[in-house]
Subunit: 355 residues, 2 copies
């Protein structure tokens, strides 16, 4: 296994996640066989897919300040993936999303378990309760995985302030997003702020910082380089997400075509569209956007408006500018060369993807 490339690091991260999951899953089964579906669902969610973006950035952040890759380090770095599992599970309950990565979301799986076993009470309520608890458990497992990683105590302790702040920012960003959707705001400034909190910091900058603080030694200047790289790239990452939510191919995304349009999700892409529509486009847009039963024809109409107003093009330009800012931040001697190469590669992974 070559730990100097993305593939090798991803394999190592997957290996540690699997080992950790297997131990915790056995622990749950020992409490009671009723907990086996809980473990199974988390296991599939965690291990069947996922790009490991946050653990990868953490690993590169760690390498960039001179950290040596060991199984203990990989275990500690991989713990971020379980924070993300919590965020996604809870997100699906909050959005009432029925699918995730092409499969039923967790609350839907447990709704089905309730129905199949003819259990008492509301199946939907049982599904929601289970998904909340599974998300909570994933969040707690993340901390457990970090704490028991076997890295030197000093390194673990020194990572905790960033680890905690990242998680607070994540939940604050999630609330801002939920609130923003409820405001149905068309403000570009506001939607950029949500993108910054929800993804700019959480997806890239904080994982890089977390990785750096897990290494024996790092400097404030190194953290600053990671911020200058991570913040714009994180926002570009979120903008790419927004584009995929509207134009993505269901076969690749695992979500229905135009899902974000059906949900009426307020994104930077939509804010720009709203500011550029003429009056007939505005009426047409209002007619379809956020309709629960939006069909492919409606999706196509909305996509056309987004293209015609130039909003898609402007978002692509924004992504390019942010990406270029991220790239420029790497012109710095403070980060190990090997890590700089990986950070270059990750720019492509974060912004040129289609799912």
């Amino acid at each position: 296994m070559d730990l100097n490339d993305i593939r090798g690091l991803t394999d190592a991260i997957n290996g540690e996640l699997r080992l950790f999951f297997e131990r915790e899953s056995a622990y749950l089964s020992d409490i009671g066989s009723e907990l086996e579906p809980v473990a199974d669902s988390i296991g599939h969610f965690l291990l069947d897919s996922g790009k490991r973006l946050r653990p990868l950035f953490a690993a590169i952040g760690y390498l960039g300040v001179g950290g040596g890759i060991t199984p203990q380090a990989i275990k500690a770095l991989s713990s971020l993936e379980l924070v993300h599992v919590c965020a996604l599970m809870h997100d699906d309950v909050m959005d009432a999303s029925d699918t995730r990565r092409g499969a039923p979301s967790i609350h839907k799986q447990f709704e089905e378990l309730h129905r199949t076993n003819n259990l008492h009470g509301s199946s939907a309520q049982f599904g929601v309760a289970s998904a909340i608890l599974l998300g909570d458990l994933a969040l707690i497992w993340s901390a457990k995985m970090l704490h028991e990683s076997g890295l030197a105590s000093d390194q673990i302790l020194q990572s905790l302030p960033i680890y905690d702040e990242m998680r607070v920012e994540l939940m604050a960003g999630q609330y801002l997003d939920v609130y923003e959707q409820a405001l149905a705001s068309e403000s570009l400034e506001r939607s950029l702020k949500v993108a910054r909190y929800k993804s700019g910091k959480y997806s890239i900058e904080r994982p890089l910082h977390f990785g750096a603080t897990l290494a024996p030694k790092y400097s404030q200047e190194q953290l600053n380089v990671y911020s200058r790289y991570g913040l714009p790239l994180g926002e570009a990452f979120q903008l790419r997400d927004d584009v995929i939510g509207v134009f993505g191919d269901p076969a690749i995304t695992g979500k229905p075509a135009g899902d974000d349009l059906r949900e009426g999700k307020r994104t930077v892409l939509i804010a720009i569209t709203s500011s550029e529509v003429n009056s007939s486009q505005r009426n047409e847009f209002a007619k379809y956007f956020g309709q629960n039963d939006l069909d492919l024809r409606g999706v196509e109409k909305l996509r056309q408006i987004i293209v015609d107003t130039g909003a898609l093009k402007r978002v692509e330009t924004l992504i390019e500018e942010m990406t270029s800012n991220a790239r420029n931040a790497l012109n710095n001697d403070g980060i190990a060369p090997q890590a700089k190469t990986l950070l270059e590669e990750m720019i492509t992974a974060a912004t040129k993807r289609s799912s």
Copy 2:
């Protein structure tokens, strides 16, 4: 402030919780004023009431192995209250409970905020999303409070395995409870198992262990004494909860009379009743138990059956036996005398309460 009695310890715990909350609340406001309702709601939930049972047991566990009370220690020990805040907030969403401590539960508060501000989308969905995020934030704040308490690093590190295991057990116990309700099981053995996981370990044994591991030094024998005391007392605590859920005074509990009967909650009390009813009682019981619109007359009928079958009496006897087992565990020289006195007092607080 006298830190040698329950009152003094409670005041010190409340003081640290308030200080921590004020800092974190200011941090959220700095991100955006939209987060002020989030901070306010957590603040009221955390600070307006609560018996601080878990931090108190943790503090006594710490004292009992020779830990010296300092503000740093109180801060670390108090962090448990925020785990409990998460559990209660998420519990109310999972049970769809509309009130908590006589006030609207968190999801209801945010449902109302959504309605008052004429926000877009479903008010109920906004309420649920907010309550999930507030609970997540409380769980993360707990860890942050512990990590930044200022206790010696070795002491914090040595508490983390128990801290994590306690939280895993809590979520596992919550799922067992939800599942048990959905099974509508009448098994005494099963409901005792749920009581053990949900409360026996989480409410008393684990907080005592957590406190002990936060002290500079503790022995396995001391942890064992805490288990022999904490497990039966925790189960007695849960049985008292079950009795209050059926017979409690709404003016004291802040919940409607007979709320657990309306919810159809499967508890040890109900399991014993089910095993002792004659056939006419069984029909009568089935007619009222778990009815959403159960009125006071129906509550009275169910209470009468629970009394007539001798189930209430048997639960009170169980509480006494468990309490006496807990008391016997204190005949041990390994625990500091001052802590033993406090543990005696806590027996009363846990089992003779009416809310």
